[in-house]
Symmetry: none
DNA sequence: GATGAATGAGGGTTCATTCAT
DNA sequence: CATGAATGAACCCTCATTCAT
């Protein structure tokens, strides 16, 4: 059994802390009480937007299309969001926030290298299951966004943090004699990373395999290979 | 050593045969000499376009940007190509043509399952090395193009053919006791496929590792796993 | 000393009589008490609106901006006013009403030509002092409003009435030998008119000079010139 | 007679030198030979735009309206200009360039204070005659543009330079005993400045009076007053 | 082969206004 | 009285594409 702590919602933002919470519409004085009422609508709209972004690509998605899907007019979206870009921003940063919450839970558990890898991969597949659209969008757009728009600098930050976390784990494992030492670890890192996340391109929630089951099989291949061991 | 036949340039179009050859400009008065003269320019322009498509995404790329990069005005591109879309089309189909030429060479060699997998993966990395931009474009745009534009139906065809080829090989290997039988083969197929092609997202030609070396390490991980075998 | 009667608030609308008084909210259930209660709020809102219109221009001013400044939401303004345009209308017509009240007081005093000019100019500067925003708005927007929107026809009426009043006074003065006769009187009229009103573009209430002091210096220049008389 | 040197087109930009010349369309490589061909069209379009801006105000003018007036579609304007704002920029800076060329000619002539004032006023009326639309636009929009858009900072620069030039001349005149010393010179400066430029609001080229004739009468009023000197 | 100028469709966004609560 | 949410029209601008020269 792979012990993965339930996604403990510590405060571990993927985005640098201090960013605006991005919750309330741009009212002069937003209503007291946390705005729990309109938050539902916001989340709903973001989910719709994420779906369209994931299906058509961010650039190819028109704001009118999102509005159509939401049963409103294009202009009405601007009551809830500043821009198309800010929708994308919220989708991606919400995803990264959750992802990192999960990862930190794993790291806090103090597991051995192999168990850490298993837990991280499992957590990743869970995140793919929960944030499929966001993951797909991330895969397609992150590189370009991170490199050309300061606003999305946190994507590059997250990337770097991600690499440190994984490389560190692999190095620990290699040093401990758990992982092979004849591999280029950077290559191995990319191998595992891509292996996991690209799954978002074909994974459909509610399908044949649960995220955990997929994680188990992926881990089995990654850790032990696809050939028969004599 | 993994024996992979040199990419034999048989006529094996990724696109269904019968498609227009897409070589000569559409002008009534095409340049004398059978288009051999301007072919260099065409290829040059396509390479430029592929570079921009790969870097910015197809939708985000403007025809003017391509023209700028080529030192001409946007309108001038239309002497060489029917449309932006047809540039994309040529880039992708040229890539698939070459890819399939390589794969058919492998299959014609009649190797065993494991050796076939090795040869296919190596051929794939060679293609990534030679057609990096096209591969990147393919990764990003293929799904959407295939599903929404009849013109790009050949992408879906190729995808299906690709799956048959790989699944067949894996099944042969499983039946022969070379590959593990406790895995969902479809999952394994996706695992290997993605693992290989996503490499295009970070691979840079002329870097530290040759395509063959990368292929060797990837195969080592895929086939034998990353953990130490006792 | 220039004798100018205190702005006697006679009922002398700049707008043609018969126009709606524009006081009470348009609601069926208007607040009890005859609207006296909310009149303060109305006036307050109009002052705010006038300030923003003057600072940014009518077109460039958004209703939201006014509402922000008033600490309410844009839609809430529509409880008090029919439209953005009607705010402008009220601001301008209130200003013109007061202005004409002052002018009529002057004319009723039956002064000589020179004294009339002095009194009119002084009254004008007083109005600039009291209705600075309205004057600035008037300067910037009146011509266009008057010529393109029937609703603002009273602006053109006022303009004509204004010209008659001034030209008449100048003609009386020329006939009486007080004013020079070698000038194009229409030119002189425009000269004086512009000279006075443009002051609104730099005048700030509560500054170094009182309106009366400014009027005195302006009159001195207009009547006697800036060169030294031998 | 007031001796005013013909507007000598020295290189005296109202805008800080080093600004882009703003002439050629945004071609990769603009045609050699100075682009004299398309410059005509640019100038034509700018004149049209200036006319509409002057008549309706910048904010109230739609790009479509300008295009209509030019017999083209709105989008086509963007082949010639970067934006609506850049049209405004070119109109205003071209006007200021010419104005300052004229002023420098006057100052270079080394006239006495009174003659300098006469020459400056005459030059101003000439500029109003030649650039009526630009002057009208300037009057209406300059303050706001200068204070809120860095791009139009040169408007504020010009304003300051203008004030120095005029105030200096007035001070010289006062010191020389030509102008009255009992006036607030800053007030006198504004008086003359406004008096002249607001004329743009009613002046129509080709009308009854030539710019020089209007200048003469204005100067007569400003310098000597409208009352009869005994 | 390439340019210069234009088209026309559409895209993101703004904004005055409405109205149920 | 005021809010929250939405409307719908219009706006500036972009861009693939065309075509006479």
């Amino acid at each position: 059994m792979i012990p993965v702590p339930k996604t403990t919602p510590k405060t571990t933002p993927g985005k640098a802390p201090g960013n605006a919470p991005k919750t309330a519409p741009r009212t002069a004085r937003s209503p007291a009480g946390g705005g729990a009422a309109s938050d539902g609508r916001r989340a709903e709209l973001l989910a719709i937007a994420a779906g369209v972004f994931a299906a058509q690509g961010y650039d190819a998605t028109t704001v009118r299309r999102i509005a159509d899907e939401a049963g409103m007019l294009a202009g009405s979206l601007y009551y809830h969001f500043d821009s198309k870009e800010s929708m994308l921003d919220e989708i991606l940063s919400a995803f990264l926030d959750e992802l990192w919450a999960g990862y930190e839970g794993v790291m806090a558990a103090g597991l051995g290298p192999r168990e850490t890898v298993e837990a991280l991969v499992t957590a990743s597949f869970r995140e793919i299951d929960r944030h499929l659209d966001a993951v797909a969008i991330y895969q397609r757009e992150a590189r370009q966004l991170a490199s050309s728009q300061p606003r999305f600098g946190y994507l590059a930050d997250s990337q770097r943090r991600f690499e440190r976390l994984w490389l560190g784990t692999l190095e620990r494992g290699a040093a401990a004699g758990v992982f092979r030492t004849d591999l280029d670890l950077r290559l191995a890192y990319r191998f595992i990373r891509d292996t996991v996340w690209v799954a978002a391109s074909w994974y459909r929630p509610g399908g044949q395999h649960s995220p955990e089951e997929i994680a188990r099989q992926y881990l089995s291949m990654v850790l032990d290979g696809v050939t028969v061991r004599e």
